[in-house]
């Protein structure tokens, strides 16, 4: 089966909120073990697209297939890790209690130490989440998405507010996980992060404007910097 290789298949997905087209016919495929970057300005539809992958958004048209299972499908979600854009945690529990909970609802027991070490929060495992700094909360939220070792990781702007050093470490980690077979979809505005993705999708007004590796996109736009490529491709499609 040819579809075996794709962790995510999105086919002509349309989602409206009232008269607004949050997704206006998006199709994309993400290969297994790939780091796919979703780039786009505020309100482009990145979060809506990610939410449609986990069945939180029900498309009016089109289909979504995740790990070879047509969505919505609850069982497949045990193999998906979703990090929401806003750190979604229980503020009155400790870091470790939060992780334990998210591990348990995904049907696993261990992995807490490992997940916390990835984000550098093992030392703070006993802290109440509401007492953490903003960046630490983001990291804790990321750890909660990793804790059950998912095959597919959906990260909605995972490094916002994270300091440069840790951000670099996290990206090393993402790439290592991808090499080990985890598929990662990550949304971002940050161009230097985008350069570390295997492939990029540029999204705007709910449409996928362009897709490809960094080099491909730069070549298509005829510029050397990804940022310029992004701007140029956005303008080209708007015109």
């Amino acid at each position: 089966m040819a579809s075996e290789d794709f962790a995510v298949e999105v086919d002509g997905v349309v989602k409206r909120f009232g008269s607004l087209h949050a997704l206006a016919g998006v199709s994309l495929r993400i290969r297994q073990g790939e780091v796919y970057g979703l780039l786009g300005p505020n309100g482009a539809g990145k979060t809506t697209l990610i939410r449609s992958l986990v069945g939180l958004v029900k498309p009016e048209e089109g289909s979504v297939t995740v790990l070879n299972r047509r969505m919505p499908n609850l069982d497949v979600l045990a193999h998906v890790g979703y990090m929401t854009q806003q750190a979604a945690l229980y503020p009155d529990l400790t870091v470790e209690e939060n992780l334990r909970f998210f591990a348990a609802i995904n049907g696993v027991h261990g992995g807490i130490r490992e997940a916390l070490e990835v984000v550098g929060l093992w030392d703070r495992r006993g802290s109440i989440v509401s007492s953490l700094s903003g960046g630490m909360r983001t990291r804790c939220s990321l750890a909660c998405a990793l804790v059950h070792k998912p095959e597919l990781l959906l990260l909605d702007e995972p490094t916002v507010g994270v300091d440069p050093l840790l951000r670099m470490q996290l990206w090393d980690r993402f790439q290592k996980m991808a090499r080990e077979g985890t598929t990662i979809l990550v949304s971002s505005h940050v161009m230097d992060e985008a350069e570390r993705c295997d492939r990029l999708g540029l999204i705007r007004f709910g449409r996928l404007l362009a897709e490809g590796t960094v080099a491909q996109l730069q070549a298509r736009a005829g510029v050397n910097r990804l940022e310029d490529a992004f701007l140029k491709l956005s303008e080209a499609s708007a015109a």
């Binding site: 939410r51 986990v54 069945g55 939180l56 029900k58 609850l74 069982d75 979600l77 045990a78 998906v80 979703y82 929401t84 806003q86 750190a87 979604a88 945690l89 229980y90 503020p91 998210f102 609802i105 995904n106 049907g107 909660c144």
Partner: protein, 365 residues
């Protein structure tokens, strides 16, 4: 102090209300609804307590008292035989009856004190009081006609007793209520927080089934509610000495059922609130009308007809009746009235569990 800064806060507050029409509607609508309801209950011309008059008197005075009572507006009195009166009292159709003895006229004319038997059902102090009052008034009327009749009443109670007080009556209902209302509010707010802090989104993006979420919540809060129920019960029975002639296990069973209803009603209704602020609004909308209509304060039988229908639709009415039947009348599971109460509360619990689970699903799509 800067006037501008103060006014900035004031303006912002009013603007917020403009965007939250619901709170505004509640602010101005709820007091009217609650007061209208209260007015209707108290002045809507509901039923007055039913009482029996057993006239054994061989002379004319007994008939005089009986007809005075029958024309009374505060009670619905009717003449009947003693057997009939006893039967109706046991069935709960009479709040009480007065027994006019055979030698009534005789003794009254000889200026002896007349001893009246008053049999009261006793569950509801308010009704008992009304009957005693009506009897007293009938004798005042008699005294003004026949001159100087002295009388004494010998009161006996089917349930409770002379030292059965208002706390005994309200206590039974409130034991159930306290648990119900607190659990309801706590669940609603907790579930809303799950929504506002974004963790519900995470739960929905996990393999968790909606019924699993609802059941998990239910278990967690039910454990809390049961501990609370034990505490409330122990305090009421051991320290306040609230009258109880029933089985403590049964009281607890009913409380547990109410707690389950409260938890699931909380989950269900939290779907209709966006903020914790809006959740608190369910207190005047859901809780106050139930307080007024479930017979906790005003006996359902004395409400105006249409409100009685409404009362019979509220689960709390059955819970309160059940609680009083157990604690005051010593009802056990062989009583058909208690079976009905438990069945209705149980049925309602199942209904809200289903409602909670289905709304959860619909909200997410």
């Amino acid at each position: 102090m800067s006037r501008r800064r103060i006014l900035a806060i004031t303006r912002r507050l009013l603007q917020q209300f403009r965007h939250d029409r619901r709170t505004l509607a509640l602010l101005f609508g709820a007091p009217l609804i609650i007061l209208a309801l209260l007015g209707y209950i108290l002045r809507g011309g509901g039923d007055v307590p039913a009482m029996g008059v057993v006239n054994l008197d061989e002379g004319p005075l007994g008939a005089l008292v009986a007809s005075t009572l029958e024309s009374s507006r505060t009670v619905a009195a009717s003449r009947m035989s003693r057997q009939e009166a006893d039967a109706k009292l046991h069935a709960g159709d009479l709040a009480g009856y007065v027994l006019l003895p055979a030698d009534f006229t005789n003794r009254a004319q000889q200026q002896h004190a007349v001893v009246l038997g008053v049999e009261l059902e006793g569950t509801e102090p308010a009704l008992s009081g009304t009957i005693m009052q009506a009897v007293g008034q009938a004798f005042t009327a008699l005294a003004s006609q026949a001159g100087g009749v002295r009388f004494a009443t010998q009161v006996s109670y089917l349930h409770g007793g002379a030292n059965f007080d208002t706390l005994d009556y309200f206590g039974a209902a409130f034991i159930g209520l306290v648990v119900f209302f607190l659990v309801f509010v706590v669940t609603t707010v907790a579930f809303l927080r799950e929504r506002s802090q974004g963790t519900l989104e995470r739960l929905m993006a996990s393999p968790l089934r909606r019924p699993e979420i609802v059941l998990g919540y239910m278990l967690g809060f039910t454990v809390l509610a049961l501990v609370q129920a034990i505490e409330v019960l122990a305090f009421s029975l051991l320290l306040l000495h609230v009258h109880n002639s029933g089985n403590v296990g049964l009281i607890f069973l009913l409380e547990a059922l109410m707690a389950i209803v409260a938890v699931n009603l909380g989950i269900f209704l939290s779907m209709f609130a966006r903020t914790e602020f809006q959740a608190v609004q369910f207190i005047p909308l859901v809780i106050v009308p139930q307080m007024l209509l479930s017979g906790i304060i005003f006996p359902v039988t004395t409400e105006p007809g249409p409100l009685q229908v409404l009362s019979r639709l509220l689960p709390l009415t059955y819970a309160v009746t059940g609680m009083r039947d157990i604690m005051i009348k010593g009802a056990d599971l062989s009583w058909s009235s208690l079976q009905l109460d438990l069945a209705v509360v149980l049925g309602f619990a199942i209904l809200v569990i289903i409602a909670g689970a289905t709304t959860l699903r619909r909200r997410i799509a």
